[in-house]
């Protein structure tokens, strides 16, 4: 097992695994959702499911920001990017996300000026250096990246940089969890809460999950032992009949989050009435747009966008994967028509997408082998 080779903490992992097994009630099955794509990545990279009893299943949630961008928004972004006066800037993860007529990469190959950046501040620097270009930043991500977009925009305002704008696609995690809890397809026993999103929002916003839905949630770090520890805490809560929000990742996540980050986001952005998520449909109050006061920096105001809703391709089952209803390899096109090189759906694009994580770590072959042996 790779985990054992790579980590000298393998003994601790085995000890935790034994404690986890001891907490499981005989005959009961447990399903926990890891909301964050970073967790999905760790789980498959280190084969963590092999450390869990067969009665404990981890299902993957919607917490990969690239995975949830709907086709229509990609089309809108490409419509802006192909204007002759525009230089579009984007995180690398976004470049291969398919719209209805191809991705940023395809548009770039066809002549559009699209550049990859590491930070929104790089996009702002591009605007400073190219005063004759309209530089647009394709803003994506959960609460982890929204503060950086907001800070960048405030900087642009302070410097009076007029050729810079933001195409805002920031989404918020709580409404997505709510949509999953309200969906009849899935019965969950608890959640592994996202680590880095919680650095910003803190642990309080999850309390309704425990209070109203009677599910425990444990905010977890990204190392293999963090995840096993969080699973242990979830099972301990269930065994003791508790439903609470706990913070396993205290060494990074403060209970109250980052007040400065929340303040700048609130200063610059407000909730949209609704926003479409790929595979999940429209979710109320689940995304951010720039406030009226910052309309001059809003690419949606500055440029015409088609704003057309586009249905996902028929073959694509990303919605089921994002909701945790299907495992990636259960999608009919997984690994055949849909691969990281030629993704049909978004979950195959980012390394945090569940399908890409399965694909990259050869996990699916092992699962299939295991099933074949059993059959």
């Amino acid at each position: 097992m790779r985990f054992v080779d790579e980590y000298r903490d393998a003994d601790k992992a085995r000890a935790l695994a034994a404690q986890i097994a001891a907490l499981c009630q005989p005959g009961r099955r447990y399903k926990f959702m890891e909301v964050c794509g970073g967790h999905t990545h760790t789980i498959y990279k280190h084969g963590l499911e092999d450390y869990l009893p067969e009665t404990v299943t981890l299902v993957h949630g919607p917490g990969c920001p690239v995975c949830v961008i709907p086709m229509g928004r990609v089309d809108d972004a490409i419509a802006i990017a192909t204007r002759p006066e525009v230089t579009m800037t984007s995180f690398g993860d976004m470049m291969r996300v398919p719209g209805s007529h191809g991705s940023f990469f395809d548009a770039k190959a066809a002549g559009a000026d699209i550049r990859m950046v590491y930070s929104p501040l790089d996009a702002l620097e591009t605007a400073r250096r190219n005063p004759d270009r309209q530089v647009v930043f394709m803003a994506i991500g959960f609460e982890t990246t929204a503060p950086s977009t907001a800070m960048t925009l405030l900087r642009a305002e302070a410097e009076g940089i007029e050729n810079f704008s933001v195409f805002c696609n920031h989404v918020t995690i709580i409404p997505a969890i709510k949509a999953i809890l309200d969906s009849p397809d899935l019965r969950l026993d608890g959640f592994l809460g996202p680590g880095h999103v919680s650095t910003v929002i803190g642990c309080r916003p999850y309390r309704w999950i425990a209070a109203q839905h009677h599910k425990p949630l444990v905010v977890a770090g990204f190392e293999p032992l963090d995840i096993l520890q969080a699973v242990y805490q979830l099972l301990a809560q269930l065994a003791e009949g508790r439903c609470e929000v706990e913070n396993q990742y205290k060494r990074v996540v403060p209970w109250d989050g980052n007040a400065t980050a929340l303040k700048v986001v609130n200063q610059v952005m407000e909730l949209r009435p609704h926003f479409e998520w790929r595979g999940l449909g429209f979710i109320s109050h689940s995304a951010l747009k720039l406030r009226e006061r910052y309309a001059s920096f809003d690419a949606e105001v500055r440029f015409p966008v088609p704003g057309v809703r586009v249905a996902d391709p028929k073959a694509c089952q990303c919605g089921e994967v994002l909701k945790g209803v299907l495992k990636p390899w259960e999608c009919k096109v997984f690994g055949t028509a849909c691969t990281p090189e030629n993704p049909i759906g978004t979950c195959m694009v980012s390394s945090e997408g569940a399908c890409a994580a399965y694909y990259n770590f050869g996990r699916f072959t092992r699962v299939r082998v295991r099933e074949a042996v059993r059959a």
Binding site: E125, S148, R155, T199, V200, E223, V252, A261
Partner: protein, 90 residues
């Protein structure tokens, strides 16, 4: 994009309190620290960096543990570091 990379603050700038020079894996980078300065930030402190912004302060043990973890991630981490090194934050 969602990977947080630890770095250690090596210099603050009096003319730009929102920026700092941060050592990331032995190389100095300019990082925006405007989101973590409210509770004070000193040279020697460790921060977790997302898309060019320090999002939280962390202790040294956590920094070392997450560096080891990230190194174990291979390509995704290499890509993130390469992107950071091309970055021109100002």
């Amino acid at each position: 994009m969602c990977l947080g990379i630890p770095g250690q603050v090596v210099e603050r700038f009096s003319d730009r309190p929102d920026l700092a020079s941060v050592d990331v894996c032995g190389v100095q980078r300019t990082v925006n620290v405007g989101l973590v300065t409210d509770e004070g930030l000193e040279v020697g402190d460790w921060v977790l960096i997302h898309v060019g912004f320090a999002l939280s302060k962390i202790d040294e043990d956590e920094a070392r543990a997450s560096l080891e973890f990230l190194e174990g991630m291979g390509q995704a981490y290499a890509d993130e570091l390469a992107a950071l090194s091309r970055s021109r934050i100002g």
